[in-house]
Symmetry: C2
Subunit: 390 residues, 2 copies
């Protein structure tokens, strides 16, 4: 078990109607002039944004809105938010949405406390020392951004999709999590979210750090819960309890708990970021294509932990070899993803002939000659894994 620091100070307020506490929560963070950030319009149409605005007004909090954040959010909206925030004298941000909206809010929160270009943080030219408080009303359980210190933004001009990871500065102060808001999420988005949650746990779970028993067992339990509740939601999309379990699992999958004491991997995420940067597909759907290919490759090259995962998460019986066990786990994982409606190959993802050379080039340009830690993947390795996803 490695040394670690775990610090998840976000206040998670979970249950029916909690979005109506937005105003009170912003005031407790000392905020009186809030930049309210949201996505494509469904939050407005459903009346959610109106309820949040009323809650802010009732608490005496002024707000300026920045709407229209899209999936795979880009730097232009961050820059627009920073301009708006400067003009309005913003002292806090409230994100109403899923990962893209929250990540945009975090980037703006850091940018508003920085004199240079906010992209410096993502390009590794500066570290975030300070940021405005960020609050969240979560509408899509998937990215786990409501409980993480991370943000992922794409530079529109170059299609470079980079992640910024901070231990503390960008963690939301509070997250209002009402599972009712997710009852009408489309099947596709729900399945993308489930895949992303599982991937967040697996990126941490596949480690060579010895003796991570507690972290392993917590991650395995969460993965089992996600599979169980994912099936329940697929059968009954309006099942409150199943939605609630998925929502909470998505947070725990990514607030750092599942990585305590482990050297983490993250190769599949970085590989997927190239795919979604180049082809603008949903992150979760990209992961459904990439992660099983990564696992299949690992079964042949470094099966140990994959076999443990197969046994403990997918109930695979101990077999003649770790490789066989691992492969059976991967088969069951793929079957689950297909069951909830995810694509399993590039062509099912709508990319008939992916430019694998460009994906490999982009990946290693952004992340260096070796990617991941469970196995440190070379260009040849990542090319093989991309081909396993064809």
């Amino acid at each position: 078990m490695n040394d670690f620091t775990f610090h998840s100070p976000t206040e998670f307020i979970f249950g029916r109607g909690v979005e109506q506490r937005a105003g009170e929560c912003m005031v407790r963070c000392g905020c009186r002039k809030v930049l309210l950030i949201s996505g494509g319009g469904s939050a407005r149409r459903s009346g959610l944004l109106g309820r949040v605005e009323r809650s802010l007004a009732d608490a005496g909090v002024a707000c300026v809105a920045l709407e229209g954040i899209r999936p795979n959010p880009t730097d232009d909206k961050v820059r627009e938010g920073i301009r708006l925030g400067r003009l309005a004298g913003t002292d806090g941000l409230l994100a109403v949405g899923g990962g893209s909206v929250i990540d945009t809010a975090k980037a703006i929160a850091a940018g508003l406390r920085y004199d240079g270009d906010f992209w410096d943080f993502f390009a590794g030219r500066a570290t975030v020392a300070d940021a405005l408080p960020v609050g969240v009303v979560l509408t899509i359980p998937a990215a786990g951004s409501e409980g993480s210190g991370n943000s992922v933004i794409t530079l529109a001009s170059t299609r470079q999709k980079l992640s910024l990871r901070t231990p503390y500065a960008l963690r939301p102060r509070f997250a209002l999590m009402n599972p009712e808001l997710t009852l009408t999420l489309p099947t596709w988005q729900t399945a993308c979210g489930i895949t992303d949650m599982l991937a967040h746990i697996m990126e941490r779970y596949f480690t060579n750090t010895p003796a991570t028993t507690v972290t392993d067992r917590v991650g395995e339990g969460l993965m089992r819960a996600i599979v169980e509740e994912g099936r329940r939601v697929a059968a009954r999309p309006d099942d409150y309890d199943a939605r609630a379990n998925l929502m909470w699992a998505g947070t725990l999958a990514h607030n750092g708990l599942c990585g305590t004491g482990c050297e983490e991997d993250w190769a599949s995420h970085f590989m997927e970021h190239e795919v979604s940067a180049l082809y603008d597909v949903s992150h979760g759907a990209g992961l459904a294509v990439i992660f099983p290919a990564w696992l299949q490759w690992m079964a042949a090259h470094h099966a140990a932990k994959v076999a443990q995962w197969a046994e403990r998460v997918w109930d695979v019986a101990p077999g003649p070899s770790a490789e066989a066990e691992a492969l059976e786990g991967v088969r069951r994982f793929r079957a689950f993803l297909a069951e909830i409606g995810m694509p399993l190959t590039f062509s099912q993802l709508g990319i008939a002939a992916p430019d694998i050379a460009a994906l490999v080039d982009g990946l290693h340009r952004n992340k260096g000659e070796h990617v991941g830690n469970y196995v440190r993947l070379t260009r040849c390795d990542t090319e093989e894994i991309f081909r396993l996803a064809l």
Copy 2:
């Protein structure tokens, strides 16, 4: 799944040598005059207290020491600490020890910001609105007080042992957790700690709230990890990784994670508090006697969740009845407790003829006519359970 708030803002700094960061951490909390609280003398003898004092001095933090906190800590030491703190102008507390030391520090932290008698908080006559910052150097993994907002203190004059639960105010700001400090913990104290951790999860796990899948699975994973690493430590007390896993498990068992969305029970803890208040036994050892008796009674009266626990934590095969499954789980739990050296009966605990009438009277005087939630226990029920522990 019930609505809930989960807020665990403590910064957990985990690994070798982390006690040397005590000074820097107190300064980050804005503290310059610290009351340093410790237990029976082993922290002084081992040199730990000296290292912590040096770290404080190096960071420019003055400190006044309050030593000699004993297990089942009493109000007199809290009062002594409040007097000392007032004299010294204390602006923060640093607890070096286990649950008793941390609980005492929390009570002093609340008392130093209150004009009345600190016992008002424990007696339910006042709520803690504010408290001085508390930091922790953990030496005994067991009580989970390093990550909780709770404190348990005994009023020496009446032997009333009461717990104070706050959502936030009494949570330590930071906890420095070095598993090396626990390598030499005696077998008995280690086993008491293991029992207490398991009990903290079980008090939350045994609930009638439906559809708590995520919380169940996390708790089950943690219980399995504690049993596995508990056996490893029993075989090799100086196994760093096993000690580290137990230390981290003890925190997660009690920071609220294992109760998210559940109506919790706590009957066994309240019953044990009567035993340790009356006979001054170790809390963990008392739980080893009480909790299996509680479970045995539940197997006959409300077996459902006990059977699930038997299957998922103790690998009991599904049997002809939930009661039979549950009882087999209880049998395996008792066998594990015996294996690590815990007593299973009052007489093994050194109480040949417990005054059950007094225990039942004290329990219901302190906690009301009904105790617990999984089954709301009457006087008759709790008497039966105490008798099952004879």
